[in-house]
Structure formats: C-alpha cells, structure tokens
C-alpha cells in the first residue's frame, strides 16, 4: 500500500512508487525521484513544511504540496530510528 511522501515520518526509509501526473512530475524525476528509488525523510522545517529528504547522496527539500505528489512504499525492514 503506497502512501504520500508528505505523511512519512522523519528517519523513515521509503521507496518511490509513483508520482502523480502534474507539471512538476518531470522536474521531480529529473531530481532523481524515479520509481524504485530509495529515499529517506531527514527532517522537517519548524512549521512542518517544507521537508528535507535524502535522495541517495544529496539533500532535497520540498514543500508538502510537492511531497504530496509522490507516492512511496515503506521499505521492507526499515525502522524509524530517529
């Protein structure tokens, strides 16, 4: 069952499942967010928005609106460690 990236808790490791069709979709993909990609939610800004994620070696911040476009699967065996 996939979830929106915007509701994933910091520390959690997830895998990109799909991205909702939108003007932003190709941009998100160019940033490396393609299906199957493993990403980790790192932390949130003080008001919970934007969030910062680790995309295999770099840190990307996105607004909740933008993270909401991304559906992710919780990676098997991943535990919340933060």
């Amino acid at each position: 069952m996939s979830k929106a990236l915007s509701i994933i808790k910091p520390g959690q490791l997830v895998t990109v499942a799909s991205i909702q069709d939108s003007a932003l979709k190709p941009k998100l993909m160019e940033m490396g967010l393609i299906a199957g990609k493993e990403i980790r939610v790192l932390f949130r800004a003080p008001f919970g928005d934007p969030i910062a994620i680790d995309v295999h070696g770099y840190v990307l911040s996105l607004r909740l609106d933008e993270a909401g476009l991304i559906q992710v699967n919780e990676s098997i065996g991943s535990e919340v460690f933060a």
Binding site: A23, M29, M31, S61
Partner: protein, 651 residues
C-alpha cells in the same frame, strides 16, 4: 572557441569559471531574453576562448525562465551562443544526479569535457571513481578530475581544452535520445526514467562506496540550524551582525566618500573659472558620481555576507526555515535577506533578489523592498519628528519621539507585507511557484569566490545603475540651475539688493540669493505648479520643491529645505533649520508645519519611491522600465493617499 560552462547548482561551477577566467569577467545579455550572460575571455596558445557561464540546472529542460536559456541555446545550432565545446561540471560526491545533465549534453554530440569537481569531498564520503571505466562509458568525452576551490586540476583542464577536437561527435549514451519539446512532459518523464537506469548501470561498474554512509555529516549541523527555536535564534543573531555592519560600520566609509566629493566639488567651484560648464562639473557631475559611489560600502558589505552565507551552504537553510512563513505573502524563503537588507538600503536589497529562481516571487520581492524604511529616510524622519512631535514620555517610560520613529518603520514593514500579499493575487504567471531546493553540504567558503562576487556586484551597480543616477543628477542640476528667460537673474539681483538693505552678512546674503534663485528656477516653478496637487496633504510649494529635488535621494530633502529657507545646514541637529521651519507661516498666519502636515510628510516619505538609484537598479534587475515605473506609480499613489488620510485625521 565558444565554450559553454554547464552544471548542476552547488557543484563548484563558479569556481571552475573563476579558475579559468580570473577577474576578466563580463556581463551581457543573451539575445532576446532577460537573463544575464556572464562570460569571460581567456587566451591559450594565441587562441581566444569565450567561456559562457550558463545558469546552474539539473537538466536541459528548464524549471524557470532563467534556466530556459540553457535549453534555447543548446537545442538550436544556429543560436549565436551555441558552443563549440561544452564543459559540464559535476560534483563527484553525487555523480548519479550530476551525470543526468552531463549525459543530456553528451547526447547533443557537442565536444564535451566532464569536470569531476570536489574530488576531495567524494573521497571523504568514501566514494571512489574508476576513471578508466567511466571513460569507456563515454568514449568521446574528456574527463578531468579537479578540486577547483583550491585550483587543483587547472592544468589538466586547460590541456584538454586545447587538445579537444572541434568536430561534432556521433556517439550517444542514451541511444534513443532526442530533445523533447518543452511541453512534452511525457517524453521528458520517459527520458528521465531511462537515463537514470542507464546511469545507474554505469555507476555500478564505475563507483565504489567504501563505507555505507547513511547520514551526511551536514545532517548533525542541521539538527541545530533548522531547529524550531535555535534555528531562528541563530538566523536572528547572524542578521544582527550583518545589520550592524551594513547599518553602522558602512557609515564611516560612506561619510568618507561623501566628504571627499563635497570637498572636491567645493574645491572645483573655487578653482575652475566661473561659468556654466564649471558649474555643471562641480555641481552636477561630481556630486552625481559621488551619489553613485557613496553606495559602494553598503553594497560590498552586504554581498560579502550573502556570498559567505551562500558559499557555506547556510543560505539554503534560511530558505528552508523561512519558506513556510513567507509563502502566504507571495514571497519566498529567499526574500528574507533582500527585504531585511532594504532596511539599510534598497539597492543591495533589490540586487540580492537574484537568488530567487521563481520569477513571480522575485518580482514581488523587488517591488515591495523599497517600502522598508531605509537609512536615507532617517535624516528626513528625525528632522520632521524633532519639528512636530513633542519631547514627552508616554505610558510612563516610552519616549514619544522614539515611538513615532518605530511606528514609521513598522508602517513600512506592514505595507511591504500587505502589498506583497496583494501582488500575489494580481501578478499572473503560468509557472506555479515551487521549492525543490537542494540543501548543499556545508563547506568552508572560498574567499576568492566571495571576493569576485563582491567585485561583480559593485561593478554592475556602478556601471549600470550609475549611468541612470548620473543622468538624473544632471537633469536635476539643470532644472535647479536654469529658469525661464532672465527670471533667475532678476530674482537674484532683487534678493541681493534686499539683502543689502537688510545689512545681512556676506554668507547670509549668499544664502538669501541662492534661495531666490532656486525659487525661480525650473524646479522652483515645478514646485509651485505642484502646489495645488499637494495642498490637500498640507504642503506648500516650498515643500513641493524639496519633494522634487529629493527624488535624487531622500536625504536631499533636508538640504533642499535649508537652501529654500536660506539657513545654514549645521549637519547635526539642524537647530536653525527647525527654528526657521517652526516660524514658517501661511498667508493666513497659521504655521506651515503642524502635527498634521508634519505627520503627513513622514507618511509620504515612508511610502514614496523617492530614490532614483533604486529605480535604476530595479530597471537593471528587471531589464525593463515597466517594473520600476509600475513601482513608482503604486508607491506614489500609496504615499499620496496615506499622507492625505493622515493630514485629514490629524487636522
């Protein structure tokens, strides 16, 4: 040879640019678009090369107007900026995403050099690259490893530039590659998926990661710097320090420049033979140049700090913690620094909006920045407050004059935020604002880059904005120096005789004559013509003249009033000017400067765009007169209505 410098943001692209071109950088325009083209010329073996620094992008498909130039140039071989050679700078510690843009450029079949920068950082992160294996994946590309921030790898890069074949190659990395049209998002999505699959295949063969690092070291710093409490406290503290420098310490070099030009102009008017041309030099051009140069300390200091914050990676964190707060106002996390800088001076503030990639958010920031009360308003505020606000204590401990000053600053801030929210609704754009911001890892700043940024900003201001400021200074000088027919001469003669009758001292009679001449100059006539318009605000024509002259810069208001009232400016508290203004009466014997008219003037100066230098910079930054004119119009309307309402309420 035309060389294009491409690369993701935060890859040290500008370090490579600086390494190759040093200080020989120029700024021009890409044809047809309003994007600055930064380029530098360098010579190798008697061959001249032009290196064009393209905006940092993650893909050839643009995500903002500024980035579109990359696409426009690269897809069109007929474009005058189409390169003979492309240098793509990639961050070796993050090859996957960086190779995305590189492979796109590779597939254009332009001769290409891949610069693997930040080799040191990659090693630190436990990543090593098999360069030979990488070269097999891209057989026609040259690959150079550099650490450009310390100048390492320059020789190899230069060697490769010299040895590269200028013929287009025929190889392709992603064999079905074609350039999609900009609105073909499906095609771009397919390309992204397939390209990344291919890149990952290559990386598996090429890159070895020794330690399974899950957490970047930057992450620990981020725990504090984006913390809900400490994050803001630290940002506040950093701002205080920057402010202290811009606001307080820049005053010394500024006074120094001011003093030198005032002395020089005085010396010139003594030494040069009397005549119109001498006057033009000593009273028009020299003070005009001084009026440009006086801003340099503030601009240099502000950009010194901004470059430092940007280089270190901290600025992205400021955006991160401020974005949510600024968004409802149509602003961006990146608007914070420009707006706060504008409290010192709107000029560096407007120039600092360059970092905002979203066009609409940048425009709104530029448009409201001059509403923040800048330091040039202080002399006007203090004069008027001393004039009409009684020295008394309210609520037992608050100084009323101080409270009014605080109120004026707050008024400017609130207006800026409200107008921003309004503009958010008014300015239409097809691009939806988004963030998608990389938080680069923290690095110690490269002082060379900081220095070059400061130099560039100062140079652009002096050359581009300086021309407009100088031109307006000369126009204002001409309007104050000439009058219709012999009107000024007659007035001067009359004033001289009158002064003799009154047995005034030499100095006093000179001031008396100056006042009469100004009253009969074109500016004086304009001031009088303005009177019916400004009467509802409680002003007379003498104030009208000062409003016009202070268009050069707000603080000129004070000096201009001193000339009109023929009193000596004593610099400090302006006691004589204030006394003279207090005694100023209208025809019906009521005082000109009352609480109502004084407060109305203060409100006028909070809102009005009384600053040609800012206008010139807005024109420079938006590349058209449309925005500065819109800005002047809405700020003028706001000033007029605000002053009118204030006058009605208080009288």
């Amino acid at each position: 040879m035309k060389i294009a410098l491409l690369g993701n943001p935060n890859t040290g692209k500008s370090s490579v640019f600086n390494m190759l071109t040093g200080l020989r950088q120029q700024v021009g325009n890409f044809p047809g678009v309003t994007v600055d083209k930064k380029f530098g010329v360098f010579t190798l073996n008697n061959e001249e090369h032009t290196l064009v620094d393209f905006p940092g992008t993650y893909s050839i498909y643009p995500r903002s107007k500024d980035e579109q130039v990359v696409y426009d140039v690269l897809k069109n071989e007929e474009h005058p900026d189409f390169p003979d050679l492309a240098i793509v700078v990639a961050d070796e510690s993050n090859l996957e995403r960086n190779l995305f843009l590189f492979t796109q450029v590779y597939d254009l079949q332009v001769p290409v050099i891949l610069v693997l920068n930040m080799a040191d950082l990659a090693k630190k992160n436990g990543k090593s690259i098999d360069l030979t294996a990488l070269a097999t994946a891209f057989p026609v590309a040259k690959i150079v490893e550099t650490t450009a921030r310390v100048g390492l790898g320059k020789d190899r890069l230069i060697q490769e530039i010299q040895s590269i074949s200028k013929e287009k190659h025929t190889d392709r990395f992603y064999t079905s590659a074609k350039i999609c049209s900009l609105d073909d998002s499906k095609g771009q999505e397919i390309e992204a998926t397939e390209r990344y699959t291919l890149i990952n295949d290559v990386l598996k063969r090429v890159q070895t990661t020794s330690t399974a690092k899950t957490e970047a070291s930057s992450n620990k710093l981020d725990r504090i710097l984006v913390h809900p409490i400490f994050g803001y406290l630290i940002f506040g503290a950093i701002l205080m320090i920057i402010f202290q420098f811009i606001f307080a310490f820049a005053a010394y070099p500024m006074d120094f420049i001011d003093g030198i030009f005032a002395d020089f102009s005085a010396w010139l008017s003594q030494e040069l033979p009397t005549g119109l041309f001498s006057d033009l030099i000593s009273q028009g051009i020299v003070p005009g140049i001084g009026g440009v140069l006086v801003f340099i300390p503030q601009i240099a200091l502000l950009f010194f700090f901004i470059a430092l914050l940007e280089e270190s990676g901290y600025l992205a964190r400021v955006v991160f913690i401020m974005d949510r707060i600024m968004r409802p106002l149509g602003l961006n996390g990146k608007s914070v620094v420009p707006l706060l800088s504008s409290v010192a001076c709107a000029i560096p503030g407007v120039m600092a909006t360059r970092t905002i990639s979203d066009w609409k958010e940048r425009m709104i920031t530029i448009l409201v920045a001059p509403l923040m009360s800048c330091s040039a308003r202080i002399p006007v505020y203090t004069l008027l407050i001393a004039l009409v606000i009684p020295k008394q204590t309210v609520f037992g401990f608050l100084n009323l004059q101080g409270l009014v000053l605080f109120g004026l600053y707050s008024l400017g801030l609130v207006a800026a935020l409200l107008i921003a929210a309004l503009l958010k609704l008014l300015i239409k754009t097809r691009e939806k604002g988004f963030l998608l911001l990389e938080l680069p890892s923290y690095k110690s700043p490269r002082w060379g880059n900081v220095g070059i940024t400061v130099w560039e900003k100062v140079r652009v201001f002096v050359w581009d904005a300086g021309k407009v400021i100088l031109a307006i200074s000369i126009i204002l000088w001409a309007l104050a120096t000439f009058g219709p027919g012999d009107r000024m001469e007659k007035a001067a003669l009359k004033a001289e005789n009158h002064a003799k009758e009154l047995k005034l001292s030499n100095e006093d009679s000179e001031r008396f004559v100056a006042s009469a001449k100004l009253e009969n100059s074109y500016i004086g006539i304009m001031g009088k013509g303005l009177e019916p318009v400004i009467k509802p605000l409680g002003y007379d024509w003498k104030i009208g003249i000062s409003l016009i002259t202070s268009f050069a810069a707000r603080e000129v208001f004070v000096g201009s009033l001193a000339t009109i009232y023929a009193v000596q400016e004593d610099g400090g508290e302006n006691k004589r000017l204030i006394d003279r203004m207090r005694s100023e009466k209208r025809f019906d014997g009521t005082p000109v400067y009352t609480l109502a008219s004084g407060a109305s003037l203060m409100v006028f100066y909070v809102f009005a765009m009384q600053c040609m230098a800012t206008l010139a910079v807005v024109k420079r930054e938006t590349k058209s007169w449309k925005w500065p004119l819109i800005q002047m119009a809405f700020m003028g309307t706001l000033a007029y209505l605000g002053a009118f309402i204030t006058y009605i309420i208080l009288s």
